[in-house]
Symmetry: C2
Subunit: 257 residues, 2 copies
DNA sequence: CGCCATCGTTGATATGGATCAAGGCGGATT
DNA sequence: AATCCGCCTTGATCCATATCAACGATGGCG
């Protein structure tokens, strides 16, 4: 029974259609969550005509900091990280990109951060120039971009609170809250008591996202488990017996990223 | 001589005209730096007609988290902080608002953070509904908003790197870099060796911005002084003898906020 | 002028998380 | 089935920063 739940949450990456692409944007899984969410029929046709897909394996670079990238796009399936590597090897993950999230920095060709696939993933991409031109001609698309940018800005600031002021344990709990909320979002559902959560990140990526070391991540997961806030299935899967207790352990509400 | 330099940098807040307002946007100090930067003549007339000014003293609240604010606007003079206060009193400053910066959260009436004047300041405000309607009708204005939001997003992520991975001393040096760059920006100048920097924040605000305590802020300022990276004039004024040395102490380049 | 409040500095001590070190587990390769 | 390697956990110790405490400087106000 628990196995069944686990299976139901495991992304079935390759099943629905050919590995290459989804025929038309109308059939796309992220249709109502991505930058194209508010596009009308003809607008969607136009996007549909210029999109192309990329499939990536965990660990594959998507864009590198400083690079001039010729494309912009959306995450369709899987998860990517945006991060900055300092000269001495310290690394900070500044955001995760889930399905529906926008990839790339419009109107500035030089990438400000590294983007790396952290799971197997599928990306829907557009030629940068054509997409930017389209944005400038379609106010509804530009409005959608603004709406998304403002939401990401709120989320980034929310995360600054975590990085600057939360304890290691609160950081871990907050990460689980974030991952659970984002995991449910595509299906327009909310996290519920007893739900299973699949962690898309390694301990190292979690550490770099939370401003901690892998050892502290490991120990604080252990502490949350001992406190009964989570139950571990394996290193990458956990159960959340009581959602409110988890939010509590996270030190109060987070805005969904 | 040093006194003269100091005077030249001290904002002369009340001098130019009546406390109430600047006549027309064309004469405004932030004309080319604020949300109105790309507006053409007729557009500017429209904004000019709907603006009104607010003057605030250091410590005055601008908007409170959770509040429904009826206005949006721009900082004209002075500096404000955006922050979040946790239930137990911990506080994190998530951003500073300098002249030209946008104030308020468009398209979402509930303020996600507290905004407080940290110096005496002057604000140019617009009725939220009228401004939002104008944005939706003027693609150039909406494009400018998007451009600003994307820049702020880059800055916020940059700051996440600082909060998650930098040492206390690097944090202080980075803050001085930020303050110096922002101080020079309005005049389209870059920081130079020997420049004087006026700190707009108390030690407490700096601590909350950097994720530190006031004692650590005080000690690390002392350490940077001993290292010769800065010279203290008084608690609120310092000299930067060597700009590159300061950037170095900050642990590498910051993108200007 | 002297009081008080706010702000900042400095010193002593405590501690949360980092660092250093060792070993376990599971999956891929052969 | 044995080996290996990446990933994770656990233990011992260290250290950067927090905390606790006292005091100094500055400026507003009676």
């Amino acid at each position: 029974m628990m196995k069944a739940t686990a299976a139901a949450h495991t992304p079935d990456l390759r099943s629905p259609r050919s590995p290459r692409s989804a025929a038309h944007c109308l059939d796309c899984a992220i249709r109502h969550h991505a930058v194209c969410a508010h596009c009308s029929g003809p607008e969607l046709d136009m996007l549909s005509g210029m999109k192309s897909y990329r499939t990536l394996k965990a660990g594959d670079p998507v864009v590198s900091m400083g690079e001039r990238t010729g494309f912009l796009g959306s995450v369709v399936e899987g998860v990517a990280s945006m991060s900055r590597l300092l000269a001495d090897g310290r690394r900070q993950v500044v955001g995760l990109l889930f399905p529906g999230d926008f990839v790339g920095r419009p109107f500035s060709p030089v990438a400000p951060f590294d983007v790396v696939a952290v799971t197997e993933m599928r990306l829907c991409t557009f030629d940068r120039r054509r997409f930017e031109a389209m944005v400038r001609e379609m106010p509804s698309l530009e409005h959608r971009m603004l709406e998304m940018a403002l939401n990401e800005l709120d989320s980034a600031r929310e995360w600054m609170v975590l990085l600057g002021r939360k304890s290691a344990q609160e950081k871990l709990a907050s990460f689980f809250v974030l991952a659970a909320e984002r995991g449910m979002r595509l299906e327009n559902r909310r996290p519920i008591d007893g739900m299973m959560l699949e962690l898309p990140l390694t301990r190292e990526d979690m550490a770099d996202f939370l401003g901690l070391t892998i050892e502290t991540v490991s120990r604080q997961i252990g502490a949350l488990k001992k406190a009964g806030v989570i139950e571990l299935i394996d290193a990458r899967h956990l159960l959340i017996p009581d959602w409110e207790a988890l939010v509590e352990a996270a030190g109060g509400e987070l805005e969904a990223a």
